[in-house]
């Protein structure tokens, strides 16, 4: 491989595996506070041969942004759009069944793929007040598929029992720096794991039990995936800002 970076960094693992959830011709959405999915959607546009309808929280409809912003809700993400699809528009689209793939944030995820983005500890007397779920409670149960990511894979982020259920309905996919989970029969099962760690490590660091019967090591990034991500983050600033090991 001509690239001198390792095949997978934690950062490229998360962004690329999020991008791999994007499917041809589908309506796909990235929201606020969502840098990895924003990069994943832009990457999928560059790395894959198929097209899909990319919508984002800045009102973008198939945008062609002139720069990649730090904020995933930056208005530059609507640049080059032929329409502005505002916040009410994309939520209504989702609740009436028109959102195929929606990326949503989470602090804790349980084995059913439900999420807590509200508080650690008792909601009324929180140890940590988290940002809140934004679209989660409405979009997770109504999007055809929703996918989330965690930059930390640990028993405090992937938990048996959530401190608070901000959004139910169950994630279709969860990506961490070392694993990719997908939903099967209302449970998350392991789809693949980072080839540099063992399956035992994934199990030790996951707070909920999961089936790993069909899991395989995650396939390495393709040359096009690597090139696409490099073109979005040429000087590695997004990777440094993500502060992943």
């Amino acid at each position: 491989m001509s690239d001198d970076r390792p095949a997978w960094s934690s950062f490229s693992y998360i962004v690329t595996n999020l991008a791999r959830f994007v499917r041809p011709d589908e309506v796909t959405f990235s929201g606020v506070n969502s840098t990895p999915p924003m990069l994943a959607c832009l990457m999928a546009k560059r790395a894959y041969d198929f097209d899909f309808v990319y919508l984002n929280v800045a009102g973008g409809v198939q945008p062609r942004p002139s720069k990649i912003p730090i904020s995933s809700s930056d208005p530059v993400l609507a640049e080059g759009s032929t329409a502005i699809f505002t916040n009410e528009d994309f939520y209504d689209l989702c609740t009436r069944g028109g959102m195929d793939l929606c990326f949503l944030g989470a602090a804790q995820v349980d084995g059913r793929g439900c999420t807590n983005v509200s508080a650690i500890g008792d909601w009324h007397r929180p140890k940590v007040r988290l940002p809140g779920g934004g679209g989660g409670a409405v979009m997770l149960p109504t999007a055809r598929r929703a996918v989330t990511w965690r930059t930390e894979h640990s028993t405090r982020t992937l938990v048996e029992t959530l401190d608070f259920v901000t959004a139910a309905g169950g994630m279709h996919g969860v990506v961490t720096p070392i694993a990719v989970f997908v939903k099967r029969h209302d449970r998350l099962v392991l789809q693949s794991w980072h080839p540099d760690v063992t399956l035992d490590t994934v199990q030790e660091r996951t707070g909920f039990s999961f089936d790993a019967t069909d899991a395989t090591p995650t396939s390495l990034p393709t040359a096009r995936e690597l090139a696409a991500l490099r073109s979005l983050d040429p000087d590695g600033q997004f990777e440094r800002d993500a502060q992943l090991q």
Partner: protein, 275 residues
């Protein structure tokens, strides 16, 4: 509805002075983008108290109001500084120390409440919410479709802000306002609120509004007050005029940096432009 006494075009200080302590205030924009931040800072300078802040995705605005002790209650869907800044620290502390009351929403349940107010009905159905603890927390009710589909739908009570404050790119001398790029949630906020205040980057001719009336987001008959404040969304962005001033946000977040200094740095202290 009677119009507020006093002129429509006023300096920022007079516009902010029309907000009574305890008012419920819907704030336009989203996170660091096109929020009426100069207006928010003016509320702090005037030491407003017990405000009830309504916004789907606040960040800097709610955080700085919490920092200054202006907030009694917040109704919000997601609160963060965004970008690389993460959580909103003074907001977080205010909630954790129970200094403010939080009514946690999903962005769309808050919008449903605003829609109810805008539609003139007491409540509004909203999609989703099934299985979320937010319903129990907020004592929301679900109803079965009275027309027989069997669907269970959550309903949210009306949310009628006393005032919506919207940062627009341009206003004209009549008080119409328009926004370039996405208007986020500002349209429904302006329809739900009892009164609407605009903070505009600049004036544009009535003729230019007449040429393209479809660009107008908020018609003048709905607007009770307008101030012209160039760079008024600082340190946030106002598309397509300026981007987020990230060093200024970093500066704001630095615990070593006094709030006073940040308030003094703000552009509205340097430019007093109004009609």
């Amino acid at each position: 509805m009677p119009i507020d006494p006093g002129p429509k075009f006023v300096p920022l200080s007079e516009l902010a002075a029309r907000v009574p302590d305890g008012a419920s205030l819907a704030i336009g924009g989203s996170f660091l983008h096109r929020g009426p931040n100069a207006f928010v800072r003016e509320l702090i300078r005037q030491q407003k108290r017990h405000l009830d802040i309504i916004k789907q995705s606040p960040g800097y605005d709610l955080d700085i109001l919490c920092r200054a002790g202006c907030v009694a209650k917040a109704r919000a869907g997601i609160v963060a500084m965004e970008g690389n800044f993460g959580l909103a620290p003074w907001y977080r502390r205010a909630v954790e120390q129970q200094q403010i009351e939080l009514e946690e929403h999903a962005c769309m349940t808050l919008t449903a409440g605003l829609r109810a107010a805008a539609f003139g009905v007491p409540f509004q159905p909203v999609g989703g919410v099934h299985g979320s603890d937010l319903a129990r927390l907020n004592k929301w009710v679900s109803i079965t479709d009275p027309y027989g589909s069997g669907q269970q739908v959550w309903i949210v009570p009306a949310i009628r802000p006393d005032i919506a404050v919207i940062h627009v790119n341009e206003a004209n001398e009549l008080g119409d306002g328009r926004v370039y790029g996405t208007y986020n949630w500002d349209r429904i906020m302006s329809r739900a609120a009892k009164r609407v205040f605009l903070v505009a980057e600049r004036m544009a001719s009535v003729r230019s509004f007449q040429d393209q009336p479809e660009l107008t987001l908020i018609p003048s008959f709905m607007v009770q007050g307008v101030s012209i404040v160039p760079h008024g969304a600082w340190p946030g962005s106002c598309w397509p005029l300026y981007e987020v001033d990230y060093p200024a946000v970093e500066d704001y977040l630095s615990p070593q940096r006094a709030l006073e200094t940040h308030l003094t740095d703000a552009p509205e202290t340097k430019e007093h432009v109004f009609v």
